[in-house]
């Protein structure tokens, strides 16, 4: 996902010198081509996320679109107040880009796991939180972000994510991208964790239960029409690689509540029972309850109600 992002950004930045890529000294081997080709549009500020984010705000105030790139928690939690005051309050054209969503940096330990970022960034006014499902979605979303001016948060996976969509997706802001349809209920996911939702849908189909599987990239702009029809259709399970507290599932529950929509909803998210547990992404997802087994049992429990 990160390579797709950088390639897409480079393509757009060649055409538009106002596009700036800033990094807090991360992106070895990933940002080289951009830096080499467009040095005037590339800044490595050093290891100083708080100052970097304030700097990005000031830089953007001069009419630039600044993409600030780093790993998981570093361009988000580490410099939260700079995002709040110098980006969101000032409505500056900054895109915070994190790589390593959820457990993507699995064995590197909890300091490198991004499990609270959506909750925290989603709480900020003026901030668009966007979570692509796969490289196909990443292309369209990156292109979109080069044309908009809003403060935004782009939450990327890392590398070698499976393609969830069969081909490139036409991205419409605020719209869900459905992977497959089914009449008995809906699995909504955000991010590369969608592969588990797809697997759960396949297993449910073996029991003759057909569910829709849908990617929700626009977390701070929930697709209300889709949600309304999903609520009518049957149970909804929301799948995310993030804490239960304040993530995509919470965003959906808030939307349902704000619009007085009755729905059967269950969340599948990270239980975070052992913060210090080491392991790869698949292992840690599973250990923390993000599994097709859990999706299926929660779906069936709702269905039995």
């Amino acid at each position: 996902m990160r390579d797709t992002f950088v390639k897409t950004l480079l393509k757009e930045a060649r055409k538009d010198s106002n596009i700036i890529l800033m990094t807090g000294d991360l992106g070895f081997g990933v940002l080289d081509e951009f830096q080499k080709e467009l040095p005037a549009q590339f800044i490595n500020s050093g290891v100083n996320e708080q100052t970097m984010m304030g700097l990005a705000g000031g830089y953007a105030s001069t009419g630039k679109r600044v993409f600030v790139y780093s790993i998981g928690n570093f361009p988000t939690l580490r410099c939260l107040e700079q995002i709040r005051n110098d980006v969101c309050l000032m409505n500056n054209s900054v895109v915070v880009v994190s790589v390593g969503a959820g457990y993507a940096y699995g064995s590197q330990g909890y300091t490198h796991h991004a499990l609270e970022d959506i909750a925290v960034l989603r709480a900020l006014p003026n901030m668009d939180v966007i979570v692509p499902a796969d490289p196909h979605e990443t292309i369209g979303i990156t292109q979109l972000l080069t044309t908009t001016k809003n403060p935004s948060y782009l939450r990327l996976g890392k590398s070698n994510e499976p393609l969830i969509h069969k081909k490139e997706v036409l991205i419409t802001p605020g719209k869900i991208n459905e992977i497959s349809g089914g009449a008995d209920g809906t699995l909504i996911f955000s991010g590369s964790v969608g592969v588990i939702a797809v697997e759960a849908a396949r297993e449910l189909a073996l029991k003759s239960i057909n569910v829709s599987v849908a990617s929700l990239p626009f977390v701070s702009q929930i697709d209300l029409d889709y949600l309304k029809s999903a609520a009518k259709k049957g149970p909804i399970v929301v799948v995310e690689e993030h804490s239960y507290r304040g993530g995509v599932g919470s965003a959906i529950l808030e939307t349902l509540s704000n619009h007085a929509i009755s729905a059967q909803v269950a969340l599948v998210a990270a239980s975070q029972t052992n913060l210090s547990q080491i392991g790869d992404q698949d292992f840690l997802r599973n250990e923390n309850g993000i599994s097709s087994k859990n999706i299926i049992s929660k779906f069936l429990a709702l269905r039995a109600n």
Binding site: A40, I43, S45, G46, N48, Q50, T51, M52, M53, G54, L55, A56, G57, G58, Y59, A60, S61, T62, G63, K64, E81, Q82, N85, D86, L89, M90
Partner: protein
């Protein structure tokens, strides 16, 4: 009809008028930080009376000089100077901190002409100014960026991160002016977290650094006039300057002047200036 003031070209006259406004508005609003405002007002007056190339008619210019007051708690000083220089109607000052008024207790950007950045949380102004200066330098846009810091604010790590970055990129369009009044929130700076040798620190970070008397307009003007690298001006100031019972007192970081205090303060201003 709201009055738009004719601008002052003399920093001393501007600062004296601003001192009166600061004392009035913090009294009426029962607001804090009057002494911080009296400490920094000569620096701001020097900038807005000509050392910075900025006026209401230039606000839309992409190459205007930028002034950022990073010590946002001195809002009354910036607002007074901006109003007196005609950036917005002087009547606004009377509504300082009132419900739905444009001017709040910390510097607020939206709807206040002349304010470049909302501040109030320390350590934000310099990284932001650094971003503007870096973008301008990379794009060949002229116009300098002046960031006014408090000395206590230099406890923040972002100040020193910014100092490194400005030096690395040789941002010779960036100026820091530190309001060195030697008092911070609870007590003296040197009893809280030692800043000295303060000028040597900035020099070690690669900044052209000058220590100047911070209430001396000519000395400030002279120091602000030239630079060949990022420049730090350490302005030696007195907290509460101009009103003896407010001077060098931690209490007046918080206390709001009573009606009696205002009368006494105005008497002193007419004696001292």
């Amino acid at each position: 009809m709201e009055k738009i003031q004719s601008p002052f070209s003399n920093a001393a006259e501007l600062a004296l008028a601003a001192r009166h406004e600061i004392i009035k508005m913090t009294s009426v609003a029962k607001a804090s930080h009057v002494a911080s405002a009296l400490s920094v007002v000569d620096i701001l007056s020097t900038l807005y009376a000509g050392s910075a190339d900025i006026s209401p008619s230039k606000l839309g210019d992409p190459d205007r000089d930028i002034v950022i007051l990073s010590k946002g708690h001195s809002a009354s000083a910036l607002y007074s100077v901006l109003a007196l220089q005609g950036f917005f109607p002087i009547e606004w000052l009377a509504d300082y901190c009132k419900n739905d008024a444009p001017l709040g207790g910390h510097v607020t950007f939206k709807g206040v002409p002349g304010v470049e950045l909302s501040t109030g949380s320390l350590g934000h102004g310099l990284p932001y100014g650094l971003g503007i200066a870096m973008s301008r330098k990379k794009s060949g846009v002229s116009g300098r960026v002046f960031v006014v810091l408090s000395d206590g604010e230099c406890d923040e790590g972002t100040i020193w991160e910014s100092a490194m970055i400005a030096n690395h990129h040789n941002l010779d369009n960036l100026v820091v002016i530190v309001d060195r009044n030697k008092i911070q929130s609870l007590t003296f700076t040197e009893d809280t977290l030692k800043l000295e040798p303060f000028a040597d620190k900035w020099r070690a970070f690669g900044w052209e650094t000058e220590e100047v008397p911070g209430h001396d307009y000519q000395a400030l003007q002279k120091s602000l006039a030239t630079q060949s690298t990022p420049k730090c001006i350490i302005a030696d100031t007195t907290k509460g300057k101009g009103v003896d019972f407010m001077e060098n007192s931690v209490l007046w970081h918080y206390k709001s002047p009573s009606t009696d205090d205002v009368t006494k303060a105005f008497e002193q201003l007419s004696e001292n200036y």
